[in-house]
């Protein structure tokens, strides 16, 4: 319908000014009062058409106001006005024709028109003719977006006409691109279309593919002989991979070229309908509980002519042999389809490459999240050998710290800057307290550390629930982290993920620095390898253990802020990451930060890889990943990067 109206529109355009309505816009609106008030995309067409083609200068304003949901209907007389919120529940109404304020009305006397996004798109398309040459850049951009959303043949001419006068270079490029796309779809001249197709064949944009793909849509058809007047894509043999015999026969049935098969249900229904004195076709009803008996009874009925005969394999063979099966393009021009197929092939190859790149970026991003979650653990578990099941809860505490800080500092950038050291401080203190009170008594009993820290974990989780409630809490990223870094239509990654990646790298550097270049790092390594010896060298093992554990916990807190930014802040945030974190450390190799990095990388890439192979089931990816890890550990029980020599400890 829209297409028709737009075609009409083009003709109307010529004589617009001459036909301008005498009485202004309101009579036109009133003419379509009912459908405008009803506001359904299916029926609204004529109203928009009438307004857009009225030739009145206020039509553009009205349509724009309408799309912005600012048109109100006065219930008393059904007239439409632009509304502006006044005091309380009242609205100030303005007449479209005169531009005068009509008065202020209570909301209860008015009805707001709420065009849904479908109608807004139609309004947008109708507005294109006004907006393409509008002095306001934003409106011209809006017009282009509208064309992009609903490409229409009728828009091609006005678009072409507007290109030369376009002052803005960006918009001009965009207009030229759109013109090419519209040419592909709607130009009359085949040569121009083929040229446009070839021109666009190295473009990755989704919109290019969206313009090309409809050209190569095929439909499976069947006939006794191959027709010559259609654009045929190919002939299919029944029984081949592309067309099974069953599908081919179904197609024949659907085209009324063969008799339908009799299904088991049909047989059953036919038998039930033909029960005659406790027997069907001579077979007693009680015996009809096997397929063989039913077939026999049905055959008897078929012989008597009461039911259609069963379709046999020979019937199917004959029917398939008598027909050809072929696919036809909807697009009549063979040149265009050939060019489009070729262009698509080229594009697909590039898309494939770029998809791999995108997947790699996703995998890196996932890996850096795992790494960030696991890096604290790499210290407490990897270096100290302490199994801290409450590690996930430290991550959670960091995230909640971020949330609390945001309650006091509304500026998102500032609040994140404050939240990161705060989160570190909170979880550092918590870690130190935990080490002093619990873990230090259990150094020689690793399994019991596991259980005790698990006790702390459930207590902390429940405490978080009691304090913050069970609802997820918002932790909003600063505005400059919104959006995504877009390389092209296939490859993009959100800034927040990039930030997490950067953060992970910073921590890697920090960790290496502390371990290799600082006194604390030296002492840590000494205490880990041999606490007694370290003690006799003047190092206080208790203090070092305390600080190491605090450091690991503190980093977990910062990771919490980052994870909270990109996912959610709930009390079970930590438990989502704990098993994965341990996996990361174990797979990578305990006691080595590079191991944790390798582990995170492997798990991230593996998970994305499996997801890519089985896109409809993300859950399966996680299962297979864990199974893979279990098997992997068989072959490298000490992880990817295993410590050698004495540092390996036991």
């Amino acid at each position: 319908m829209l297409r028709l109206f737009l075609a009409g529109l083009a003709i109307l355009c010529a004589c617009l000014t001459a036909n301008a309505q005498e009485g202004g816009l309101q009579p036109i609106l009133q003419e379509h009062q009912e459908i405008i008030a009803k506001s359904s995309r299916k029926t609204i067409g004529p109203a928009i058409e009438a307004i857009a083609s009225s030739g009145l200068p206020q039509a553009q304003v009205m349509l724009e106001t309408w799309a912005a949901k600012n048109v109100w209907m006065r219930k008393s007389d059904g007239l439409f006005f632009a509304g502006k919120k006044g005091e309380g529940r009242s609205y100030e109404l303005t007449d479209f024709d005169t531009g005068e304020i009509v008065g202020t009305f209570e909301k209860s006397d008015l009805k707001q028109l709420k065009p849904n996004s479908g109608i807004r798109a139609m309004i947008g398309t109708a507005l294109v003719q006004f907006q393409l040459t509008d002095p306001d850049r934003a409106k011209r951009l809006a017009a282009l977006t509208s064309i992009q959303r609903d490409p229409e043949g009728a828009l091609l001419e006005p678009l072409r006409a507007s290109i030369d006068e376009e002052p803005d270079a960006d918009l001009k490029a965009q207009k030229q691109r759109l013109e090419r796309l519209l040419t592909i779809g709607y130009d009359e001249d085949t040569a121009a279309r083929v040229a446009a197709i070839e021109e666009m064949s190295d473009d990755l944009g989704v919109d290019v593919r969206a313009a090309l793909n409809p050209l190569v849509v095929t439909r499976l058809q069947t006939a006794t002989d191959l027709p010559s007047d259609v654009n045929i894509a190919g002939v299919l043999q029944p029984g081949s991979d592309d067309l099974s015999r069953d599908a081919a026969y179904d197609l024949l049935v659907a085209s009324d070229l063969a008799a339908p098969r009799v299904s088991a249900d049909d047989i059953r229904a036919a038998l039930a309908a033909n029960i005659d004195g406790g027997r069907v076709g001579g077979v007693p009803v009680a015996q009809l509980n096997s397929d063989a008996a039913r077939a026999q009874a049905y055959a008897a009925l078929a012989e008597a002519g009461t039911v259609p005969a069963l379709i046999t394999q020979t019937d199917i063979d004959a029917a398939l042999g008598a027909h050809v099966f072929f696919e036809t393009y909807a697009e009549p021009s063979g040149e265009v389809t050939a060019a489009a197929e070729k262009a698509l092939e080229q594009i697909e190859l590039k898309v494939g490459l770029n998809q791999t790149l995108d997947l790699t970026l996703d995998a890196i991003s996932l890996a850096s999240i795992y790494f960030l979650a696991a890096i604290g653990l790499a210290i407490t578990f990897g270096v100290m050998g302490v199994i801290n099941m409450a590690h996930g809860e430290f991550i959670m505490m960091g995230a909640y710290t971020g949330y609390v800080v945001q309650q006091f500092i509304p500026d998102h950038t500032l609040s994140i800057i404050v939240a990161i050291p705060m989160a570190f401080a909170v979880t550092f203190a918590m870690g130190v307290a935990m080490e002093r009170l619990v873990i230090r008594w259990l150094y020689s009993r690793p399994l019991e550390t596991l259980l005790a820290t698990f006790g702390i974990s459930i207590a902390l989780q429940q405490l978080a629930k009691n304090i913050f409630g069970t609802q997820a809490r918002p932790l909003t990223a600063p505005g400059w982290l919104d959006g995504a870094w877009v390389l092209n239509d296939v490859v993009s990654i959100s800034y927040i993920r990039i930030a997490i990646f950067v953060l992970a790298m910073i921590f890697l550097g920090l960790f290496l620095y502390i371990m290799k270049r600082t006194r604390l790092g030296l002492e840590m390594r000494a205490v880990t390898q041999n606490p007694r010896m370290a003690g006799s060298m003047g190092i206080n093992p208790g203090r070092v253990n305390m600080l190491t554990f605090g450091l690991g916990s503190g980093i977990a807190g910062i990771a919490g802020v980052a994870i909270g930014l990109f996912a959610k802040v709930t009390s079970d945030l930590g438990s989502d990451y704990i098993v994965q974190s341990f996996m990361t450390v174990v797979v990578g190799g305990v006691g080595n930060i590079w191991g944790a990095l390798a582990g995170a990388g492997m798990i991230g890439f593996l998970q994305k890889g499996i997801e890519w192979m089985n896109p409809s089931n993300t859950l399966a990816a996680q299962t297979y990943m864990i199974i893979f890890i279990i098997i992997f550990i068989q072959f490298r029980p000490r992880g990817i990067i295993a410590l050698k020599g004495r540092a390996a400890g036991d």
């Binding site: 069907v280 009680a286 619990v438 005790a452 459930i458 996996m583 550990i633 068989q634």
Partner: protein, 409 residues
């Protein structure tokens, strides 16, 4: 053999006596067979608790005696439940379907019956075909065999892989936890054929049994008590002989036992698989009482709770595990049930529904720190056996290993 098995283990007799008295007592007080003082829902709770005690015994065997902290035994427990659940669902649905189809004009063929059962069972997850794993679900006998076979086989394969590559200590714990997680995630998928997140439900209604739940609950209590008794005796027998000495040796110092010429892997594998089977049987008895099984039951946290029970009860002694499981799970029911009175502090009221988990967590830390013997340790005081004089050098590297003096007692 100088002394008989029972004489060496008087605690077994005491345990069995108390268990029978308890069962008898509950029966007399139940609604189904007795004076109705104990509600059916509480009988079910007690029956389920007995099953939990049984898996705790298994856990004690594998952790307290062999030193393998398995965080995966609830996976076996759940698998056992799934196996029995498949038959229960199939058979119950079959009865309904046959009843309904018999009203039709044409008698159904056997494949129509199976299709209709499939539609009923899997309709809820948007499918109607029987997956391959349901192949034996029409036979109670085979499915009962699978209760033991499937988890046993899984334990055997997993254990063989893990022990063979000498994964020990916390690594093994994390690996078993990963196994549980993988299994739970797998079962969460609807494609796994066990109805995904919905799991198998309505298991308390035994097919073909018209007796009310008041009666059925007591039957299951008996069965659970019987299984617990048997399991306890089996476990006591396992730990009392030479086999027991070897596994305790493995717990205290694996390398030394290996140097003595024992095949450590075989012993560990045997214990791991045996306990997996016991866990599976406990699960098969538990879920018909619970009424529903779904993958959430197998979440890693459940297995950790199991370790918590055994630790609180006191590991390394079988009755400790039983006490721990019974005590903690019943206490948990009591607190989360909202029956525990709130404590008003003036400025804040402690609601146990909210604070029970905190209490559990903290008390767990305290038990680990200050009472490694758990509740079972109290019995030493009571029986005047005293805590051993922990003097002399340790016989193992572990703090909880026997000391010289203890060993000579």
């Amino acid at each position: 053999m100088e002394r008989s098995f029972v004489a060496k283990n008087p605690s077994v007799l005491v345990f069995l006596a108390i268990l029978s008295l308890f069962t008898l007592g509950v029966t007399v007080l139940s609604e189904g067979f007795g004076i109705g003082v104990i509600s059916t829902s509480f009988v079910k709770t007690l029956g389920k608790t007995l099953c939990l005690c049984l898996i705790a015994v298994a856990m004690d065997l594998v952790w307290g005696f062999t030193g393998i902290l398995s965080l995966g035994h609830f996976a076996f427990f759940g698998l056992g439940g799934y196996m029995i659940g498949m038959w229960l669902m199939y058979e119950r649905t079959r009865l309904i379907v046959v009843e309904s189809l018999s009203q039709a004009e044409i008698p159904p063929t056997s494949s129509e019956v199976v299709d209709a059962i499939g539609t009923q069972i899997f309709g809820v997850v948007g499918s109607s075909e029987f997956p391959l794993i349901w192949a034996f679900s029409d036979s109670l006998f085979l499915q009962l065999a699978l209760v033991v076979l499937v988890p046993g086989l899984l334990a055997l394969i997993f254990g063989w892989l893990a022990f063979r590559s000498r994964v020990t200590g916390v690594y093994l714990s994390i690996l078993t936890q990963a196994m549980t997680l993988a299994l739970a995630l797998y079962l969460f998928q609807n494609d796994s054929g066990l109805r995904g997140n919905n799991g198998l439900s309505g298991l308390q209604n035994l097919p073909g049994v018209t007796a009310s739940q008041d009666v059925v609950s007591v039957w299951f209590l008996w069965a659970s008590a019987f299984a617990l008794g048997l399991g306890y005796m089996l476990a006591a027998w396992v730990v009392s002989g030479k086999f027991g000495s070897v596994i305790r040796g493995i717990r205290d110092n694996e390398a030394r036992v290996r140097f003595l010429g024992y095949s450590v892997e075989v012993y560990k594998l045997a214990v791991f698989t045996l306990t997996a089977c016991i866990a599976a049987i406990a699960g098969a008895l538990y879920y018909p009482q619970a009424g529903i099984i779904n993958p959430e039951e197998m979440a890693p946290i459940a297995s950790i709770y199991l370790a918590v029970w055994v630790a609180i009860g006191g590991r390394g002694r079988l009755y400790g595990a039983v006490i721990g499981a019974a005590f903690v799970s019943l206490l948990s029911t009591w607190f989360t049930g909202g029956q525990a009175p709130d404590i008003p502090l003036g400025f804040y009221t402690i609601k146990w529904v909210d604070w029970w988990q905190v209490l559990l967590g903290v008390s767990f830390v305290l038990v680990t720190l200050f009472a490694p013997q758990g509740i079972g340790g109290l019995f030493d005081l009571w029986t005047n056996r005293r805590a051993p004089q922990r003097h002399g050098a340790a016989l193992g590297p572990d703090e909880s290993a026997l000391r010289e003096k203890e060993a000579t007692e």
